[in-house]
Amino acid sequence: MADAVESPVLTISLDGWEGPLDLLLALARAQKVDLRDISILALVEQYLSFVGDAGRIDLEVAADYLVMAAWLAYLKSLLLLPRAPDQDPDPDMLAALLQQRLQRLDAMRDAGARLMARDRIGRDVFARGMPEGLRTIGRPVFRTAIFDLIDAYAQVAARTAPVQHQVRRRPVMALDQALARLRAMLPDAAEWRRLESFLPPGAQGDLRRSAVASSFLAALELARQGQAVLRQDAPFAPLMLKAS
């Protein structure tokens, strides 16, 4: 690269540079002074002439270089023209910033080289070639909440409680009761009376239905014994009963 810089006419191309700052840095280095002492004006001249002479210009590649060239041309004009005392931007300040940029890039480039030259693992120093490795073994820790415990017990209890069949007391009038009641009432039944009038007073719902059924059976039994007479004028008509 140094050769190319010293005799740019031979290989004028932008391909080899990592951007305009890289080119500027190479040109600055060619001044062979400390970066802090370079002549910015001379550097700008070199850059503009280099880019101007670049033979084949790939616009894609060249765009950044041209932007930089325009900015440097602007800087050059600021540096050359007579200036007001409090000109903004201050051309010297801009030049200093450019200089600092070059210094920083140079510093980073140098730092990168020094990093790469360090004793690197796998190149200069080596970790153990066949480490046994460290293992982590899971130790089961059981977590169960008290609720789970109670709930489980309740479910076991519910599932396996001995099944006891308990017949609920149901409101019924047994046949015996109906027979006794009808027998007692018949002597007062000289006239036809509906069967329902023999039911216990206040019998409702299931008890009444049971009483009807058992009283009917009792009536049939009393009729069979010749103690009562039954009459029904039509199917589903009221069942009539009286003492015989």
């Binding site: 080596f126 970790a127 153990r128 070639g129 066949m130 046994e132 490795g133 460290l134 293992r135 982590t136 073994i137 899971g138 130790r139 089961p140 820790v141 059981f142 977590r143 169960t144 909440a145 008290i146 789970d148 415990l149 109670i150 489980a152 017990y153 309740a154 479910q155 076991v156 209890a157 599932r159 396996t160 409680a161 001995p162």
Partner: protein, 189 residues
């Protein structure tokens, strides 16, 4: 100078990804280095340290000292939940202890699978608690102090709902007649 050779052998063996024969080591050393002496010296140097240099079948390698191998694996807690059967079994033991396997099965109405009690003992919540006098002398199980502390109970009497369940007659001892065919199993386990 043997120190230089020992250093070199030390580094070569350390970086090697497999045990090396003396010939293989020597390839990394300057000609004429006394490899035999270096190996002897290193073996000595490392004796009693956390690392040792060993020869196995003509190949040399470093290894961690065998008595420290337990340090290389570290235990880490791994939360696990108990399955349904285990929780039910645990609950039954907690409410009825001491209780035999056959009794647990009678209460659950299902046979206990092989690992359930083992699991509860591994968890540290259940322990064997002697044997019951009587036919088959079945092994009994009870809960541990760890069980109480895990569930935040100061005693088994703290188990919520135990009085209600007792009043409902669900905690009466399982009678032999309740599960006659299971009681005989107890001795076979």
């Amino acid at each position: 100078m043997s120190t230089a050779t020992a250093r070199a052998v030390e580094a070569v063996l350390f970086a090697a990804d497999r045990p090396l024969t003396p010939d293989e080591i020597a390839r990394h050393l300057p000609a004429g280095a006394d490899l035999r002496e270096a190996l002897a010296r290193l073996t000595d140097d490392y004796r009693g340290r956390g690392i040792e240099l060993v020869e196995r079948g003509g190949r040399w390698h470093f290894q961690t000292a065998p008595d420290l191998s337990h340090l290389l694996s570290r235990e880490r807690d791994e939360p696990r939940r108990l399955g349904r059967a285990a929780v039910e079994t645990l609950a039954i033991i907690a409410y009825h202890e001491p209780v035999s396997r056959a009794e647990i099965e009678a209460i659950r109405g299902v046979q206990l699978s092989k690992g359930t009690l083992d699991l509860l003992m591994e968890a540290g919540w259940v322990r064997p608690a002697g044997r019951r006098d009587g036919p088959g002398r079945p092994l009994l199980y009870a809960t541990t102090p760890d069980f109480l502390s895990h569930f935040g109970l100061s005693s088994r009497r703290d188990l919520p709902g135990i009085d209600d369940l007792k009043a409902a007659g669900l905690l009466d001892p399982v009678s032999a007649t309740f599960a006659p065919e299971l009681e005989s199993d107890a001795e076979n386990r």
